[in-house]
């Protein structure tokens, strides 16, 4: 195990996104703040929820989830994809770094960015509502597993993608619709029957809901459902990513 190599890749990944903090950390906070202003303040006052949560507090965990997922995914996917485009992937392929070391380095760096954005979103939300953290352990658990899952999915997307259009495919055509239809801004329990049933097949629903249980203390489903789903996704994504790196999928000729 090349621990120094793994730590080097991890530190490089963190340094890389910290070189452009306006783009990688502050930019997501601006959009989150706008969500709070538009959905929370302007529209939120007229929305009443069955579970009794103020609407502003209802959307905070969903936005934290959104921030973690988007940024963890974007960090690993853009970093690996750019490495492929620039040709610097050669440095990694010829170095004594195995699939596990490479995966930990990229996922670790992406998790730091995802977690940083998630925590900052929670802090920003605190200024709009109050600082809620009803089940801290659950919230931290979801924070980490969401960051891990989406960082790993980012690795897979970057390995698969050969063009910029492809690297944007997953966030635009999969993540964006699923998160917006995944109970971030509304409770799926409020939907009419056919849409509610369809929404139950959206895994994002349970992930956002689990985070809501940790932060706000109320949820539509058991947090074990979201947690279990994330753990299963993490296991499958990790196994696929390790195998892809082992065989050098779209990396080695």
């Amino acid at each position: 195990m090349n621990l120094v190599g793994m730590k080097t890749l991890f530190a490089k990944e963190v340094r890389r996104f910290m070189r452009v903090p306006g783009q990688t950390v502050l930019s997501p906070l601006i959009s989150t703040t706008l969500y709070f202003l538009v959905f929370g303040y302007s529209l939120g006052g007229s929305i009443r929820l069955e579970n009794g949560l103020p609407y502003l507090l209802f959307i905070v965990p969903g936005l934290i989830f959104l921030g973690i997922a988007n940024n963890a995914f974007l960090n690993s996917s853009s970093s690996i994809f750019i490495t492929k485009i620039q040709g610097t992937v050669v440095d990694l392929l010829v170095a004594p770094l195995g699939p596990a070391e490479v995966l930990v380095g990229f996922i670790g760096g992406a998790m730091v960015r995802g977690v940083a954005v998630g925590v900052l979103t929670w802090l920003v939300a605190g200024f709009f509502t109050t600082f809620h953290l009803v089940h801290p352990l659950v919230a931290v658990g979801f924070l980490l597993i969401i960051a891990y899952c989406f960082a790993t999915l980012g690795v897979l997307a970057a390995l698969w993608a050969e063009k910029f259009e492809q690297i944007n495919f997953f966030p635009t055509f999969v993540m964006l619709p699923l998160t917006f239809l995944g109970g971030v801004f509304y409770s799926v329990q409020r939907l009419p029957p056919p849409w509610r049933t369809i929404s139950l097949f959206n895994p994002m629903v349970y992930m956002a809901d689990g985070m809501r249980f940790g932060v706000a203390g109320k949820a539509d489903f058991s947090p074990w459902l979201g947690g279990g789903l994330l753990l299963a996704l993490a296991a499958v994504a990790t196994a696929v990513a390790i195998r892809a790196l082992q065989v050098g999928y779209k990396l080695r000729q």
């Binding site: 120094v4 190599g5 080097t8 340094r15 490495t83 040709g87 000729q253």
Partner: protein
Amino acid sequence: MNSPILEVQDLTKRYGELTALNSVTLSIRPGEIFALLGPNGAGKTTLIGALTGLVRKSSGSMRLFGIDLDRDPLGPRFQVGVVPQEINFDPFFTVNESLEIQLGYYGQKADPKRIDEVLSALDLLDKKHSPTRALSGGMKRRLLIAKALVHRPKLVFLDEPTAGVDVELRRDLWNYVRRLRAEGTTVILTTHYLEEAEELADRIGVIDKGRLLLVEDKVALMARLGERRLEISLERPTALPAGLVDLLTVSEEGKKLSYVERPGTTPIAQVISRVYRAELPVVELETRRPRLEEILLQVLHGTEKAS
């Protein structure tokens, strides 16, 4: 010390119908500079790629430092440096940071003294804290070499290291490669510049269409295949006396005479002496030794059978 640093046995790489490497067998001695020559698409980069982990082999075996790469693909890589053909750089980092990262990948801690040493040797010390994106093309090429060497590898692969660099830089790099050999580093290089192989290599391998046609000591190869030519232009066609008539080839209606000296044939000096004694109406006389390029062409055109 005499056991090979690298052994390749029946290495084959296929891309669908195309066989990029066809049962290549090769052994590299410690401390030598080995030049791999061949035309575009011959399989040079594929061979280096297979040895360095960039290309997945179809069959065959490779041993680096005595270790079978099928059993331990990563362990031997700690002692290997690779200069890829294409220039690459990470624009987020400075020259110094790039080298620190490279050391880290190879399991080594940051070593400012070593970084300064390598940068100084490659004339990049004043760019140590410059962002890599601010370097010129030649400097980026030198940075690639610095990255391949900073962790003190025992074996260095240079894939077309001087492609697209100016003459001065090429000379500098050649000097640096010689210095590496003097320090005991084994170097395997591919090049389009035959002059480069002629200047640097101890042994030469010629590859074409995925087949390694020959591997031979450079000096021996040039002596064996290196014929000398004698060209004589006459003022007018003249009958040749005995002693020359069997040696010289006549062309251009008797006004051009030529002779090829090969190992074991009559020395050119003796032929010139006979021409002088025959008092032929010589206008011009020229002798020349072929460059490696011509030898390579001979090999590629099948004059020399695969060894």
